[in-house]
Symmetry: C2
Subunit: 205 residues, 2 copies
């Protein structure tokens, strides 16, 4: 590896970490590449020798956030009995706790929009899709006869529903809930969704 390549890789790491700190402290909307350039000691324009554009930088921070979320969900999976309904409840609570503890970085995952006509790069899509296995696996145990694409649809709905409870609960918009009450409500609703999905599937069978 050439010295130049090595130096640029180090600078890129420093840039992503500076962006992560800035976003965690002040939110995505207040991210300024000028501040980051100053912090890592490069000229303003040099930032664009390290990343293609701000979208790429924000996605690289997002990738780190998703990796930490993935670890938190894996830990929740193993933290109790492997019964699928209980696992889904633990994962939902872990998602809520992660969002509360990483509020701005978690918000940035959803607030960030690519420039119009610019698709999300494949690696970012695959980072996101990889996380769904945490929901997909317990659902596949609950519904062993159901095809994988149907399970994926249910996994997506279950995630969106829990995400909605977490997002509105933590935003304290329309709806203001203390975290302990929010966790309890999420547990009750996930349990209800699972009970209902199983009951309605038996009825349909």
């Amino acid at each position: 590896m050439s010295k130049t390549f090595e130096r640029r890789a180090k600078q890129r790491d420093a840039l992503v970490q500076a962006a992560e700190r800035a976003m965690a402290a002040r939110g995505l909307a207040n991210l300024r590449t000028r501040d980051l350039a100053q912090e890592i000691g490069v000229a303003n324009g040099a930032v664009y020798n390290l990343v293609a554009d701000v979208d790429e930088l924000v996605l690289m921070v997002g990738s780190r956030t998703l990796a930490r979320l993935d670890a938190a969900l894996s830990e929740a999976e193993g933290a109790g009995p492997p019964a699928p309904a209980k696992t889904l409840v633990r994962i939902a609570i872990a998602y809520c706790d992660f969002a509360a503890a990483n509020l701005e970085l978690w918000r940035a995952l959803f607030e960030h929009r690519m420039a119009p006509d610019k698709p999300l790069p494949d690696w970012a899509v695959s980072d996101q899709m990889h996380l769904f296995r945490h929901i997909h696996q317990p659902l596949a145990v609950l519904f062993p006869k159901r095809p994988a694409d149907e399970i994926s649809v249910t996994a997506r709905s279950l995630f969106s529903a829990v995400h909605g409870m977490v997002a509105l609960g933590l935003e304290q918009k329309l709806i203001a809930v203390p975290l302990s009450a929010l966790r309890k409500e999420i547990a009750a609703m996930v349990q209800a969704m699972v009970t209902g999905l199983v009951a309605n599937s038996d009825r349909d069978a």
Copy 2:
């Protein structure tokens, strides 16, 4: 009513309607009072003789959006059998359809944040709370013995869950779903939540 008062009331209406058109077309983030002043034919600064600030203007637009949403939910309530589970499904679908048909104005309800330390005015809180009766009433029929404050918590969770499905479904972030598939999924999940809530409540009793 004095001429001046009358003229200002008319100008205020024109301002709110211009803001609504601008937000519907270009989103909350691109709202510029300068453009609105020009459109209704007043000087830039005169806007602040009509409304206290941009927050108030956005809330007045939000109030109109909520009133239309309220009408859409009322219509959905009456559009089928009064069975509570079916009513809740119809309301959820109507919420989804309203969001899809009024995307930017609906987004603005959730994207708008008051300046820090500035509380939401009472009338805005009451506009929002009033809408929850659409969910509260069918739940009260399903759980006749449950106290109203517990029903309110469940209503809030059910709303947040449906909101999450609609928001992520329509944002086409992480999750891209055609509207017909989204409506079907929302119906299935609301039915599952209701079935599960009733089953788990019987079990607890």
